[in-house]
């Protein structure tokens, strides 16, 4: 049987791109170069200085007698900015977006900039640097549950728009803690202060902002985690019996040590395949909500070490799936949009069917059936794949002979 073929969802909505004009309220001008190089310094992400120097407008054009010296100076300048980077550098950015329309269900006016999936984009040397903020819980929206109060505020807002949001922040790391923004260069910022100002530069909203705090990551203990109720560390026979009980399905046991392209650290796998959605290039019928597939790899001691489960759902937006998964598994380790999220420590991606650059102890992929299996389907459906691997075992497992 072929390994699962990861195909990332095409379910993301079309991106909305708003280009903000310079804001008169800016305390200082944000230099994307300083921002990007500071992020490279504090994150440890490599930066190609030579390429940046060669792409610099200062050295563009035909070579001259002075080109070498100009390049040298430019290289020194970039290194100086990079080397001075630290988490204590404060930046200020101004976004031409303020307070959104009243959300009647939630009883609040959202601050669009701080909604999940929103990021600020800073192109630098043809690369896409994305800024997200970590401590947005207290500034995400203006709570106003009383309709009369909200109506009056809404009337006032109509006279104040357009508005700008001014954010003073510092860089504290990489990645979107909400798991909604992916990419190679996601800069995580901590808001130091923020305010929404009207077109006359009068403050409309300026909440207190709490610093970002996150509990030190606890040691990831695979035996304490489950995906859809299933855990690693269980004997293969018990696992097989539990699956058969829940799904009334034939659970195939494949002892495939050294066969079929399976990683040589596994001795075989159990599989429940109601849908034939786990590769193989054929299917018996079209998928339907409620269908499941499970594959669980065991080691030479017959202990389950890796579990992959897919379930088919009626069509739904990605965001509630992402929110539910983060509520379940916590701060993400890496994401690629909301369609791929990884949690916990990294593992050798060769042990996994779903991975993105690196493998993680827990991953979630969101696909449409046509992404996963090809073909066209009349019913709008979503397939959510969860994957769990014992990272401690993965770090120590040896190929079986």
């Amino acid at each position: 049987m072929n390994a699962l073929i990861p195909k990332f969802a095409r379910l993301l909505a079309a991106s909305l791109l708003l280009i903000g004009p310079a804001a008169q309220a800016a305390d200082e001008e944000l230099d994307p170069e300083v921002l990007a190089l500071t992020w490279h310094k504090i994150s440890g992400a490599p930066f190609d200085f030579d390429r940046a120097v060669n792409a610099s407008p200062k050295v563009a054009g035909p070579q001259t007698f002075d080109t070498a010296d100009i390049k040298k100076a430019e290289l020194a300048r970039l290194h100086a900015i990079h080397d001075a980077g630290s988490t204590s550098i404060e930046f200020t950015t101004v976004v031409n977006d303020g307070i959104g329309q009243y959300d009647h269900d939630k009883g609040e006016f959202p601050i669009q900039l701080f909604q999940p999936g929103i990021f600020l984009q800073y192109p630098y040397h043809h690369a896409d640097y994305r800024l997200v903020f970590a401590n947005v819980d207290d500034v995400r929206a203006i709570s106003m549950p009383k309709k009369e109060e909200a109506r009056a505020f809404d009337q006032k807002l109509r006279t104040l728009r357009p508005m700008n949001t001014v954010v003073r922040f510092r860089l504290i790391g990489s990645g979107d803690p909400q798991g909604a923004v992916g990419g190679d260069r996601v800069m995580r910022g901590e808001i130091l202060s923020m305010k929404v100002v009207d077109r006359a530069d009068q403050v409309v909203y300026a909440p207190d902002v709490k610093p970002y705090s996150v509990e030190p990551p606890k040691k990831f203990v695979a035996a304490e985690v489950d995906i859809a109720g299933m855990r690693v560390g269980v004997g293969a026979d018990e696992f097989k019996a539990a699956l058969e009980r829940l799904y009334s399905a034939d659970v195939e046991r494949v002892d495939a040590k050294g066969k079929g392209g399976m990683d040589t650290r596994y001795a075989g796998y159990l599989e429940i395949d109601l849908l034939t959605c786990m590769g193989g290039g054929y299917r018996r019928r079209d998928p339907a909500a409620g269908d499941v597939c499970v594959r669980a790899y065991f080691d030479d001691d017959d202990v389950i070490r890796t579990i992959i489960m897919l379930r088919v759902f009626p069509w739904m937006e990605i965001e509630p799936i992402r929110a539910a998964a983060i509520a379940r598994y916590g701060t993400v380790s890496q994401s690629s949009g909301a369609a791929y999220i990884g949690w916990g420590p990294t593992v050798d991606p060769k042990l996994l069917s779903y991975k993105f650059q690196e493998g993680y102890a827990i991953t979630m992929n969101i696909n449409s059936p046509s992404d996963l299996m090809g073909g066209n389907y009349s019913r709008p459906l979503v397939i959510v794949a969860l994957q769990l691997i014992d990272p401690e075992w993965a770090a120590n497992a040896k190929p079986l002979r």
Binding site: L30, F220, V225, G229, Y247, F313, G337
Partner: protein, 131 residues
């Protein structure tokens, strides 16, 4: 002056959930082998015609298909340990303040999450089996 691009990466529907570290979000524990209800109890599953958000939440916590034996709930190889009775209902604490309530409503068994979504439960049906 520089410009700043505000970009929406994904469809926005709901606010973010909690943020418990991996491994600590839920209270359930691994079922001991001898505890696994391989023949005991009743198997229940979420009706796939239920609202998608309720099915999704159930899936995240293994409650899309589970074994109930009295007041004990087993999701595959996990036993939900924080389960209590509330009248005729059974309430499972899932961590981060989320609860799942199993009870009868209008003559149907339901799985109602404290965050709002409600799924209909039905006795397990084998694949292709019509109720």
């Amino acid at each position: 002056m520089k410009t700043t691009m505000l970009v929406l990466a994904a469809a926005l529907v709901a606010a973010c959930g909690g943020s418990d570290p991996a491994g600590s979000a839920a209270a359930p524990s691994a079922a001991k082998t001898e505890e696994l209800p391989l023949r005991r109890g009743d198997v229940w599953e979420v009706d796939p015609a239920s609202p998608a958000d309720a099915q999704m939440l159930a899936y995240m916590y293994g409650l899309h298909s589970f074994v109930r034996q009295g007041d004990d709930l087993f999701t595959a190889t996990t036993r939900l340990t924080n389960v209590k009775e509330d009248g005729a209902a059974l309430i499972a604490s899932l961590g981060a303040g989320l609860e799942a309530r199993i009870e009868e409503r209008d003559g149907k068994s339901v799985l109602a999450f404290s965050s709002g979504p409600i799924a209909t439960l039905r006795p397990h049906q084998a694949p292709g089996e019509q109720q």
